[in-house]
Symmetry: C2
Subunit: 198 residues, 2 copies
């Protein structure tokens, strides 16, 4: 069964791909507003694996709304959440029988409630799977060490392909780089350079 997995080349979505591999024909799908070419970082990682890869076009209006939200809130949580839900809606409209993401048990954001999952499934006639939602932080870290090759560092040095990169770029273009470092806390990011298949 064909499954489209929202893919950023971060550790969570990479581990999700491995978790789903025995049950589904997984395609790694990187969502992009077309603001930057950061999706190519995900393509580069995908090329080192046996998974298919494609991009998914997001609506630029959602990026603009997300940047307004960032300015209003002063923190990224709500903006990231609304972009993630939009990406799932777009993915659910494609031809996959099942869709998935890398959300974990301990994630505050993005998070998809049971009701949101059920609604997505009912409206689009797809299965929505969150294969890591029953895994805590410790388990994920141990599995990442065992199964993935990663680079890690602060957000501005790590080139992955999540929504954050495009929102940061759009915000920097409008309000300057200082606005970006004010709104996005300096947290450690990981970029997966390759998989050690389990």
């Amino acid at each position: 069964m064909d499954l489209g997995l929202l893919y950023s080349a971060g550790k969570d979505s990479s581990l999700a791909a491995l978790a789903l591999d025995s049950f589904y024909d997984v395609t790694l799908v990187t969502a992009t507003f077309g603001i930057t070419d950061d999706w190519k970082h995900a393509e580069r990682t995908a090329e080192t694996t046996a998974f298919d890869f494609r991009t998914l076009e997001l609506n630029p209006d959602i990026a603009n709304a997300a940047v307004e939200q960032l300015r209003t809130d002063g923190f990224p949580r709500n903006a990231i959440q609304s972009v993630h839900l939009h990406a799932l809606e777009q993915l659910a409209s494609e031809e996959f029988a099942a869709i998935a993401d890398g959300t974990r048990r301990d994630d505050r954001v993005p998070s998809v409630s049971r009701a949101q999952a059920q609604s997505l499934e009912d409206r689009h006639g797809v299965d929505y799977i969150a294969p890591l939602s029953g895994f805590g932080r410790g388990a994920v870290d141990r599995l990442v060490s065992a199964h993935l090759d990663v680079e890690s560092g602060p957000s501005e040095n790590i080139s992955k392909a999540d929504y954050e990169a495009e929102l940061r770029a759009l915000l920097a273009e409008r309000d300057g780089k200082a606005a970006v470092s004010e709104i996005f806390p300096d947290h450690e990011q990981t970029y997966v350079t390759g998989f050690n298949s389990p």
Copy 2:
């Protein structure tokens, strides 16, 4: 890494075993109060797979308390939930680095909250994994069809090895068979007779 999975030979815990197989050395662990020999149904299924099998002894006081709860409530939900949490505590006290169960996204019971999961992990120094907690009913049904051989029918005809079987037996012994059919709704059960490895 060694993982002990609470195993009943039902479809959920069987699918959980397949979901975990690429990441862990999974042992199928069937919990028993020693009231009946129903655990042997799980052993029989386990013998058709490549997974190790063992039993886990539960505290008979918990079975007695669960039967009291059944009598008070008139429905099985709370009794099953408390037995499941007890079984996870017992399993977490064993030598496994990680423990797991077959709880699904749409299960009302048993269910393990994030806070309960975190507490179990912190107190016992184990990872607790619920590999199906990000899978809805439709996805589980489709994967069961593809990967498991199942028999299904009403509870009294299907011989699996869940807590319900032992609680039913204990209640029947005390209050007679009529009490059992009053408290336990007549629902369809599944017994897995074999795995088609993915």
